[in-house]
């Protein structure tokens, strides 16, 4: 179970990194879904209430599906300037691993560390983007990861909020209205 929790934590980091790197909505939605599923699998590996992983996974998938509403394929998946974001994600992973390494011994600690790393990368994306859908997708991941840091009420609240943010129109036209 310990190895599964570690692998799931890695998946959640991979998901949020994909979201941080992607300049195209499909990649962002995939990153969101992976981050949610990774956190859900890590939570499941701790042997917690089955509702918690179901809420995290469901919240991530619903938010990702809603983010694809009105999607039109773009030509470019990665714009120039994504390297600093990749470096940022790696730095976050290393720092969280170094600072919270003590907690890696227990599956509960792994979930919390994964959630901290995911939320830090998600907020980094919110702080650096000027696009509405990117900000909303990162907000959904942030809600999921903050929920995963706490108990069942926080997990359910995080999943509900992630889904609610998915329901907000992410088109730039919504902003111009």
């Amino acid at each position: 179970m310990h190895g599964l929790a570690l692998a799931a934590a890695g998946l959640s980091w991979l998901g949020v990194t994909l979201l941080a790197l992607s300049d195209e909505r499909r990649g962002g939605a995939l990153g969101l879904a992976l981050a949610g599923l990774g956190l859900a699998a890590a939570e499941a590996a701790t042997g917690s209430d089955p509702l918690a992983p179901a809420a995290l996974g469901g919240g991530g998938l619903v938010a990702a599906a809603l983010r694809l509403r009105g999607y039109r394929p773009a030509r470019v998946a990665l714009l120039s300037g994504s390297t600093p974001r990749l470096m940022g994600s790696i730095v976050v992973l290393v720092v969280v691993g170094l600072v919270g390494g003590v907690a890696l011994g227990a599956p509960g600690g792994i979930v919390r560390l994964a959630a901290v790393a995911v939320s830090a990368v998600a907020v980094g994306r919110v702080l650096t983007t000027s696009r509405r859908w990117v900000s909303l997708a990162a907000g959904s991941v942030l809600a999921l990861s903050l929920g995963a840091m706490g108990g069942l009420p926080a997990v359910v609240a995080g999943a509900v909020v992630a889904g609610a943010l998915g329901a907000i129109d992410g088109g730039e036209a919504a902003e111009a209205r």
Binding site: L127, G139, L142, S145, L146, M149, A167, I168, R177
Partner: protein, 391 residues
């Protein structure tokens, strides 16, 4: 699906906004009624927060019914009720992680309001505040070296400043932006609700971490007090001067909370009530003149406003200053010297802000006098409000 805004020019709330308003009313009622539940439940706002919710509802009614130049009054009412629900959620929830999640929802929801500033920029402050709150609480509960817990306590204090848009997280100010979309919603509505309840939710902090949390709040309070008083006096723009005046109020509130003395907590509670009941409505009344930087002539109304905004007796600012000074002298008297200096400097920007409030007519005039009466009530009967808030 949820755009939470009416089409341009519409004065009637859209169905999603109407739904959010109903949810907001329900959340507020639940938060107020939850006081009858036995202690220990997950949803139970403290007495001070319940008084604050009622005060916020009163301020909302005042602004919606009587503020000058209020196109789309019904839409403003719907947005206000939804915001009141958000405030109720912030005060009622006991788990800091859930509070962080609620902050994310409110932050992104608020960013959908029409504004000259872009959505992504307006969502940054609340998202960062939520991260600091979650990170801080996670670090405070992590077994490991003591410095981790202290860093967590520092992050918790910074999360309050980030949520309210205080130094070092000042958002942009645009004089054309409606108050409901601007920084005022956080500095004058959501932020005070969080500041009133969050310190009481952090029972798990060790004495060492609690000291760091308090010291960080006092430090942030002094920086915001100094920056706010000088900034409001010296800045070129009247719109920025109003923003700095919020900072100065927050400076007193944060210092009062961080001192962890009964007098300081009472002063902070009154300061936060004064922000929502007096500072926020006065800003709304001054707003029509801000984009054009118009100044009114110095008349009797402006003289009264100068006395009020300077924090002199018999208005709300006076007991707040006395209580925070009392707490400072009990904790560390040199702190009182700095506070006294800042309070003297505070007088400098009062005439400037007072002259941005033009003399209104009709209902708007009644609203302005009502705001002055509320400040007078806070100043003359602070004991009643302290008793109601259990402070």
């Amino acid at each position: 699906v949820i755009s939470a805004r009416a089409p341009a020019g519409s004065r009637v709330p859209t169905p999603p906004l109407l739904g959010l308003a109903l949810v907001g009313v329900a959340a507020t009622i639940v938060a107020l009624v939850a006081s009858t539940l036995p202690p220990g439940d997950g949803v139970r706002p403290p007495a001070a927060a319940r008084v604050f919710l009622v005060a916020s509802a009163a301020a909302l009614v005042l602004v919606v019914a009587l503020a000058p130049h209020r196109p789309g009054r019904w839409e403003l009412l719907a947005v206000g009720l939804a915001a009141l629900g958000g405030q109720a959620a912030l005060t009622a929830v006991a788990d800091p992680f859930v509070i962080a999640v609620v902050l994310v929802l409110i932050g992104f929801g608020h960013a959908t309001r029409p504004s000259p500033r872009p959505f992504a920029g307006r969502a940054r402050g609340p998202a960062f505040a939520a991260l600091l709150l979650g990170l801080g609480w996670a670090l405070a509960g992590t077994p490991g070296p003591a410095w981790l817990g202290r860093a967590g306590a520092l992050a918790l204090a910074l999360s309050l400043a980030a949520a309210a848009g205080l130094l070092p997280y000042l958002p942009d100010v645009d004089a054309r932006e409606p108050a409901s979309s601007s920084y005022v919603a956080w500095a004058g509505f959501f932020g005070p609700a969080l500041a009133l309840t969050l310190p009481g939710r952090l029972h798990g902090l060790s004495p060492d971490e609690g000291t760091v949390f308090g010291a960080a709040l006092v430090g942030l309070g002094l920086v915001n007090l100094g920056w706010g008083t000088v900034g409001a006096w010296r800045t070129a723009s009247d719109a920025a001067a109003w923003r700095y005046s919020f900072l100065a109020d927050w400076g007193l509130a944060l210092t009062g909370i961080g001192l962890f003395r009964p007098a300081g907590l009472a002063g902070a509670y009154l300061a936060l009530l004064s922000i929502v009941l007096v500072r926020l409505p006065l800003y709304v009344w001054a707003r029509p003149a801000l984009p054009g930087e118009e100044r009114s002539r110095l008349g009797p109304l402006q003289v009264i406003l100068i006395v009020l905004l300077a924090g002199a007796a018999p208005f709300a600012g006076f007991p707040i200053r006395l209580l925070v000074l009392q707490a400072a002298t009990q904790a560390a008297w040199p702190l009182a010297i700095f506070l006294l200096l800042a309070m003297l400097l505070w007088i400098g920007h009062a005439p400037r802000l007072a002259r941005t409030v033009t003399v209104p007519h009709g209902g708007a005039a009644a609203g302005l006098w009502l705001t002055l009466a509320l400040s007078l009530g806070l100043g003359l009967a602070p004991g009643l409000l302290r008793a109601a808030g259990g402070l």
